[in-house]
Amino acid sequence: MDPLSVNIRNISKTYRDAEALQDVSFRIKRGELFGLIGPDGAGKTSLFRILATLLLPDKGTATVEDYDVVRDYKEIRKITGYMAGRFSLYQDLTVEENLKFYATVFGTTMEENYDLIKDIYSHIEPYKKRRAGKLSGGMKQKLALSCAMIHKPRILIMDEPTTGVDAVSRKEFWEMLIRLKGHDITILVSTPYMDEAELCDQVALVQSGRILSVDTPQNIIGAYRRRLMDLSASDLYRLKEDMEAYEHTHSVYLFGQKLHLTLKKDVAEEALTEYLEERGHRDLNMKSISPNIEDCFMELMVKA
């Protein structure tokens, strides 16, 4: 078994009267790509800040590489690469200056760890004389990642690195993260995009400060007990309204041009088809499908 990199035990955090985290516990193995998935306000940032020693938990303990996040904060700061939500870059410094600055702050040089960041930095190296403020979202994200990695951290904590970044850059970013896994770095990423969960080794689904589930994406999907159907017809919205009115419906959600439907009990497809045809739906199409993380998330939300 791989050694433990992060161990969170019963962490709670309250701001004034708002509970940001409630009794959160989970473990992350060394070298894992771990995703913390949930909407805004779920407590993702608070949890990452606690791990990065920026916040103190009200209750509970956590260790990073066997260092306690409260007592051994100095040690943790030496081995952590942290990328804050709004990429912490100096907008008025050039790409190269930003990177050099973070290198000196961590007592290293660009040359020393160039191998580690080469794959990422090479994308933006042609623009190294450009100010960070003039970069596109995708390029900023790559620069921020390079800066967070320049000191060869043992653990990389990234708070919503893909928020506000276009779909293409998001995809590229995840490809880079997956390639980084070879370097024995534990990587923690938070994101509100459910589709990114499937790229992680392990994910925690969070909602309102509570962990809904922690497991591999496959196991989370495997734990989905209901039969999920994919349903479409020519008039999707009316189909949705009719399905919401249907007595056996457990849940019905829009997914692009389709509906994802679960029923309270097994109903024969014919009965369902009949129900819908009575209401004049044309081009009916239904099939059983396996759920994705978003389906699982919503199911867990409803249960919670």
């Binding site: 306000g41 995708g138 276009d166 779909a167 919503m298 939300m301």
Partner: protein, 242 residues
């Protein structure tokens, strides 16, 4: 969909900031009652275009009319006919729920009696009667966004502009939000929406994809998927950008 009345007409719209061209000769039309998705990466020029259409800034050149009014000369008239909601700023956090509604409705000159009746109705439909006297700051993000949308269409505008209304919202609330959008569109309100979620692009009647200040593609989701031989809008987007 059959061609209806045009409510937004944009011809060769250009917006420059110094020597930077944020919008490069955009041309498109939006029809009455449709949900029009405006997609693109951050910095592609979406927000600039949105601000011009809302009458918040003037274009450098081009012919643009919104709700039948010219954006150069009738900006104040335009503002009366539209609603606007953004992810960042929507409601005053230190005002109560009903105070926010009253404030916005008052801005559009609606009568007190009308405001009172509609407020009750609105809170009832949203299931928010219980929080009528709560501060906005105390509500969860998802509720706030739903309320903000309802406030933006409170005065029955002919067009409502939504700037990333669902960013960071949980998947269930996100879908409930789209139900609201859909209902507004059924009531004949044209919806102009920007989003980063590609599955939401599929909910639109037509989408327009921007890239570096230009329109790269425009059409119904079905047309675009066919044109780019893509399974879903995510792929369309990636194929366009690459």
């Amino acid at each position: 969909m059959n061609r209806k009345k045009t409510v937004i007409r944009v011809r060769d719209m250009v917006k420059k900031f110094g020597d930077f061209t944020a919008n490069d000769r955009l041309s498109f039309e939006v029809y009455e009652g449709e949900i029009f998705g405006f997609l693109g990466a951050n910095g592609a020029g979406k927000t600039t275009a949105l601000r011009i259409l809302c009458g918040l800034s003037l274009p450098t050149s081009g012919e643009i009319s919104v709700a039948g009014y010219n954006v150069y000369s009738d900006r104040e008239k335009i503002k009366k006919r539209i609603g606007y909601m953004s992810q960042k700023f929507s409601l005053y956090e230190d005002l109560k729920v009903y105070e926010n509604i009253r404030l916005y409705a008052g801005i559009y000159g609606l009568s007190r009696k009308y405001i009172r009746e509609r407020t009750d109705h609105l809170l009832e439909t949203l299931g928010l009667e219980g929080v009528r006297n709560k501060l906005i700051a105390e509500l969860p993000l998802g509720w706030r966004q739903k309320l903000a949308f309802s406030v933006a269409v409170f005065h029955q505008p002919s067009i409502v502009f939504l700037d990333e209304p669902t960013g960071g919202v949980d998947p269930i609330t996100r879908r409930q939000f789209w139900d609201l959008i859909y209902r507004a569109s059924q009531d004949g309100i044209t919806v102009f929406v920007t989003t980063h979620y590609m599955d939401e692009a599929e909910y639109c009647d037509r989408v327009c994809i921007m890239e570096a200040g230009r329109i790269e593609a425009i059409g119904t989701p079905g047309e675009l998927k066919g044109k780019y031989a893509a399974k879903n809008m995510d792929e369309v987007f990636i194929k366009i950008a690459r």
